[in-house]
Symmetry: none
Subunit: 251 residues, 2 copies
């Protein structure tokens, strides 16, 4: 079945180290992708590719082989090339996040999309960049910007997965998650907290407002849910019970 | 000179493949980081580590060595552990992006921060997770969620770099801000809280672990500063005093 994910392919051009092909296959599979296309890899198949693929041998086994990038992206409506900065080819520069959003949107509307990575030593040739519609730059430290090829694939596939998940959840809304305590629940807790501080003689003559202000701020920051409020009130109730015994005991 | 980046460290615990240590060093350096801490690596130094580090040999050479995770994060006020989902340890779950934002914010306010990765085969032990303030989950495909260790480090360091760049461009805004409580301060508070719950007879025969786990999560989520920890401990001390009077009173 064709899915949005199946319309997203990662293309590796002229890869030199077969281990990077295997690591890239693993990166794809962990991020929910399965289409890997190889353009003229130097050595493939290879034991290093199999070893680095780990549990993603299926992605490796079904990788497409092409002689040229033009052939690998012939059916694609969007082709994004990953490059280091400051290339001579004037392509629109995209951050990985923007690139992923654009790729997922295009795939969602039925287009085939390719994200392309060049050889380890040289990156994509100018000729191959001419086949790309925009350039993706990972914002590496300019002092040492040389990401490993599979690491760059991991970053891009990670962003593709986030973009896919965001697109899915924009579809069905309704975050399950924790349900935050209501205003009334919180105020009930703060009221009991203030009373408990009195009963355990916390203030010792100082004005009670300052401590309560700090405590309110702290607990509001935590974003308590209703269960947590009940837990905290249970603790306060026991402290109050002990304080009441304490007061009668010290009488 | 101490910088915000120098307060962010990546900690690898019990790494089995030295190549992953080298790849992680490269990931750090490309993302503008330099502090790598190694806890009981199986084989290090090793030729595979050197080979995979490529131009990041300096990061590898200056990597710290520790016998235990506790030692590696002793000075850290924020410790984030990367794990697969659905662990039995109930830590606040963070997406890489949230984790990076929190880490960069804490480092910017002067706190030492650690992001911790466990051994390849097993991940972090429950014991090591207990040293962490929150858990980071990379949103991998549940059908195959096994990221390579160095790939996971690349994802987190990439998010740290984005968060750092965002913080820089948000202007040197010179946030004076709160100074977060240290790990030791927090553990001192949790110890006293557990003792107080006993003394006010909160558990009433139930296992105490569940309540303490929920309370830890709640207070860690709040990001307590040192003053707030002192305030909460003052309240606990008064509750303990009352409980002691109560026990003698009810005798």
């Amino acid at each position: 079945m064709e899915t949005s994910a199946s319309r997203l392919r990662i293309v590796l051009v002229g890869t030199q180290h077969p281990g990077n092909i295997g690591s890239s296959a693993r990166a794809l599979k962990t991020m929910g992708l399965s289409r890997l296309a190889l353009v003229a890899p130097e050595r493939f198949p290879h034991a290093d590719a199999d070893a680095m693929a780990a549990g993603a041998g299926d992605v490796l086994a079904s990788a497409e082989r092409h002689a040229t990038l033009a052939e690998a992206v012939a059916d694609c409506r969007l082709v994004l090339g990953c490059t280091a900065r400051d290339r001579r080819v004037a392509l629109e520069p995209l951050a990985p996040r923007e690139a992923a959003a654009r790729a997922v949107e295009a795939a969602g509307s039925g287009a085939a999309v390719a994200i392309v990575f060049g050889p380890e030593r040289t990156g994509l040739s100018n000729e191959d960049l001419h086949l790309c519609h925009a350039a993706v730059h990972i914002p590496a430290d300019p002092a040492y910007s040389s990401l490993n090829l599979a690491a760059a694939v991991q970053v891009l596939t990670y962003e593709l997965r986030l973009a896919s998940l965001a697109a899915e959840s924009a579809g069905d809304g309704a975050e399950l998650g924790r349900s935050l305590a209501s205003h009334a629940e919180l105020e009930g807790f703060f009221g009991q907290l203030a009373q408990t501080l009195d009963e355990i003689d916390f203030h010792k003559g100082r004005a009670p407002d300052s401590a309560m202000r700090k405590l309110r701020r702290l607990y509001l920051r935590a974003g308590l849910d209703a269960k947590e409020v009940r837990l905290l009130r249970g603790i306060l109730a026991d402290a109050q019970r002990m304080a009441s015994l304490g007061r009668s005991g010290s009488r």
